[in-house]
């Protein structure tokens, strides 16, 4: 390529670059100044509307004029308010918010969005309906949305709608391929609480996948009697993580049957299970397990030794006595762990044991 051609070509590229750079700077300036103006305006609108919204939701002398003020706001601000208040209010205020959303047309628009072909639009629709605590077929259909973020949003909403259909859908999603959804399902089932226990027990009886570990995590949080039988059965499961979780369910439930299973699990081949069993014995306050826990102070696994010592201290005076005796033990591991746990300030111990 000769010099003059190179120069001509270079100058043309430079002209394009200059135009592009100038354009970008202008766009930044526009975006910055418009953005600043827009943010200030929106902040002003939100600040004024929050008072109105609070009056409408608390029932403190609301008026039609208040509602008109909200109606006059841009749709984006109305939706931002609904999301903000939807997360903050409870009880009768939620019903008022739901009714208000209906009157302002937000509910209809959000339901329409739930049918959008774009996932982000469906997500926003689901968030708005969730904030309005609105139950409709459009939202329920999104429990099977192809996009995990949308599905997770609806699974989160579902915790507030604990009917049989929703609970079954939640439990079925314990095997969802997306981790975000499995995380949300566990959270939602814990928030549903006792009504979910039966469906969960059935799941524990019929499923044999690794999803059992997630289900048992929820079972521990629910701590309902119908979960004892499947938990005891799953203490024999071939997967160590499932056995460990089953053991921890027993720690939350207690009972004579549980105590004998836990003592047996203290001898499990897997350290994860022994650790969970040691913790569970402390949780159920089973004094009879003190000597077995004392033996575990010399376990080959550090976490098992630590949990055994913490459980002993948790047992109260009997356990503390055992720990003090362990300080004279010939096993240096037992001595160290007993000494450390006895040294822990009460506040730290309670946090660890919680």
């Amino acid at each position: 390529m000769n010099d003059s051609l190179l120069l001509t070509l270079g100058l043309r590229v430079l002209a394009v670059e200059t135009a592009l750079a100038t354009g970008l700077v202008l766009v930044v300036l526009l975006a910055a100044s418009f953005g600043e103006w827009w943010r200030r305006r929106r902040a002003r609108q939100l600040a004024a509307a929050r008072d109105v919204m609070a009056r409408l939701l608390t029932g403190a002398s609301p008026s039609a004029a208040d509602e008109d003020v909200l109606r006059a706001l841009p749709l984006g601000v109305q939706e931002a308010l609904v999301l903000e208040f939807g997360r903050a209010v409870r009880g009768v205020s939620v019903e008022r918010l739901s009714a208000l959303g209906h009157r302002l047309g937000i509910t209809t628009r959000a339901a329409d969005r739930c049918a959008s072909r774009f996932w982000w639009s469906r997500l926003q629709g689901a968030r708005l309906l969730g904030a309005l605590d609105h139950d409709c077929a459009a939202l329920r259909a999104r429990l099977d949305d192809p996009h995990p973020t949308v599905r997770a949003e609806v699974l989160h909403w579902a915790a507030g709608r604990a009917d049989g259909q929703v609970i079954d859908a939640l439990v079925a999603r314990l095997v969802d391929p997306a981790r975000l959804c499995r995380f949300t399902v566990r959270d939602s089932l814990l928030r549903v609480g006792q009504p979910a226990a039966r469906a969960l027990a059935q799941f524990l009886e019929r499923d044999d996948s690794i999803a059992l570990a997630d289900a048992l995590f929820v079972a521990r949080g629910l701590a309902q009697p119908e979960l004892i039988a499947p938990a005891i059965r799953l203490c024999e499961h071939p997967h160590a993580i499932v056995r460990a979780r089953a053991v921890s369910v027993l720690g939350a439930l207690g009972g004579d049957d549980a105590a004998s299973v836990l003592l047996a699990r203290l001898q499990d081949d897997d350290a994860l299970v022994r650790e969970a069993a040691a913790r569970a014995i402390g949780e159920i306050g089973h004094w009879g397990g003190a000597s077995a826990l004392a033996d575990r102070l010399g376990d080959t696994s550090f976490p098992v030794r630590r949990e055994s010592a913490i459980s002993l201290r948790r047992l109260g005076s009997v356990g503390v006595l055992v720990l003090r005796r362990a300080r004279q033990s010939s096993n240096p591991f037992a001595v160290d762990m007993a000494t450390q746990v006895l040294d822990l300030p009460d506040s730290v111990f309670h946090r660890i044991a919680a």
Partner: protein, 492 residues
């Protein structure tokens, strides 16, 4: 003017010209791809998190527990404020592990007084080999605070002690002088909830110089007036928003800044924790994590999260900045040398075939090529072989690309997660970005070449890092300096 043999004109100059041109085109292609991938990723991320409630993650009993590891060396002036800010971060299941790396000053005494520390019998589960631990402390007033006093061994050793002590599912690594946004942790933890294959996430490091800082929080973000700090703002924006984010899409993320990163604890321990004898321990750790995952045939993800923000004070003097850049480049060279067998190896997927070759050719060798370009320019001037118009044009083209790259980064920042509240500050950042090419850029080239030279000569020291500090002036010591933002350069 020097007389030039004819074969130089006919053979050497054209070859050299073409080599430089080819390298320039490679840089353009790399940066173009990274910018496109980053913008795509950024749009998706903004759509996902817009309007999301973080209370959901914060308040859930299912959320993973996090242990923050904060190594400290001679931080008596700021440690109490830093730890208080860490304890106040918005995350329910949080543990803070402060590792006093044998500070000769009053760091430990300050901690003991401020947080009512009591010694407990010192036993540590030594899953990683470290220098001896002197004493373990727990706080009567803050049950989630653990303080460990150990024999000095550098940042990597301190972090390994922290790893031995941490109990969280995830481990957050920060520098003791890093200011973390109160809601940054749930943002950084989100990818771990979304995908079980996530083994590490890194947050956005922003420059705090010039901003109003109080009580361990950045209260008002302002653009720095100091030229060196100002130009680093633009560099950091480009490095994180384009460099890091672009690699999310391309699967070649190799750097999680040691100033603010979140890791899967068991994965970290399984790969042996931090390596002691390198100054690039952040990148080394990520490479080890990914290498191990590839070798075990495990699907894994290392991600950058643009809305999880931590703030750092960048050097404002030429000497300190020079030492920092020299060290970063030595670290890069060292890590690439240690893992040289992975470069171009298809067994290591995108990391081996794309990420590592990029870091070798574009990141490591860029300063050498640029320096060669400047030297060649001088030689040609002396030989009278230079077409001044073309040289000037080439410089203008490179400058233009740099300006576009920098402005695009400011625009992407503005349209995604803006921090500057005043137009004036944005203008100042753009201004610094435009001035970078004149002097600053050439200095960074020299520092990085110096780093490479030192690496070849086997130097592994950290160099002294002086900081003005957000509070009274402090001096951070070996191992306590901030970490590289990664790729920061524009084509030239």
């Amino acid at each position: 003017m020097i007389s030039v043999p004819s074969f130089v004109y006919s053979m050497i100059f054209p070859v050299f010209d073409r080599a430089i041109f080819a390298y320039f085109m490679l840089l353009l292609l790399s940066y173009g791809t990274l910018v496109a991938a980053a913008l795509w990723e950024l749009i998706g991320h903004v759509l996902r998190v817009r309007g999301e409630s973080r209370q959901w993650v914060l308040g859930s009993a299912v959320s993973p527990s996090i242990s923050i590891l904060a190594p400290a060396y001679n931080e008596e002036a700021t440690i109490a404020e830093s730890v208080t800010a860490l304890l106040a971060l918005h995350y329910a299941n949080l543990e803070v592990v402060v590792i006093n790396d044998g500070s000769p000053d009053r760091t430990l005494e300050v901690l003991r007084d401020r947080f009512a520390l009591v010694p407990v019998h010192t036993i540590v589960w030594r899953r990683l080999d470290t220098k001896p631990v002197r004493r373990l402390y727990r706080s009567k007033t803050h049950p989630n605070l653990v303080v460990v006093d150990k024999v000095n061994g550098g940042k990597a050793d301190a972090l390994n002690v922290g790893l031995n002590l941490a109990t969280g599912d995830l481990v957050c690594v920060i520098d003791a002088d890093t200011i973390v946004d109160a809601d940054a942790l749930p943002r950084l933890a989100r990818p771990f909830l979304a995908d079980a294959a996530t083994i590490a996430t890194g947050g956005m490091i922003r420059v705090a110089n010039g901003s109003q800082v109080s009580g361990g929080r950045v209260l008002e973000v302002k653009a720095p007036r100091n030229p060196l700090a100002g130009m680093q703002v633009s560099e950091y924006l480009r490095a994180f928003l384009f460099g890091r984010l672009g690699w999310n899409e391309l699967g070649g993320t190799l750097i999680i800044s040691g100033a603010f990163g979140l890791f899967h604890r068991e994965a970290m321990i399984a790969c042996g924790g931090y390596t002691h004898d390198t100054v690039g321990e952040d990148m080394e750790l990520v490479l080890k994590l990914r290498r191990r995952a590839y070798e075990a045939g495990q699907r894994h993800r290392v991600l950058f999260v643009p809305d999880a923000v931590a703030w750092t004070e960048v050097p404002e003097t030429v000497a300190v900045l020079g030492r920092q850049r020299d060290r970063w480049h030595r670290g890069l060279a060292d890590v690439l040398w240690r893992h040289r067998r992975l470069i171009g190896n298809p067994k290591y997927g995108a990391m081996g075939l794309v990420g590592l070759p990029y870091f070798l050719i574009v990141e490591l060798l860029a300063p050498v090529t640029e320096l060669l370009g400047w030297v060649a320019l001088a030689v040609w001037v002396l030989m009278g072989a230079l077409n001044a118009k073309i040289a000037l044009l080439f410089f203008a083209l490179a400058y233009g690309l740099n300006a576009i790259h920098g402005t695009l980064a400011v625009l992407a920042d503005e349209l995604s997660f803006p921090r500057y509240r005043r137009t004036r500050d944005r203008l100042i950042v753009i201004g610094w970005s435009m001035l970078e090419t004149f002097g600053y850029r050439q200095l960074t080239v020299l520092w990085r070449v110096r780093g490479l030279w030192k690496f070849l000569r086997g130097r592994t020291d950290w160099g002294k890092m002086e900081r003005r500090g957000f509070a009274p002036p402090t001096v951070a010591a070996p191992g306590a300096a901030s970490s590289p933002p990664g790729p920061v350069r524009a084509p030239a």
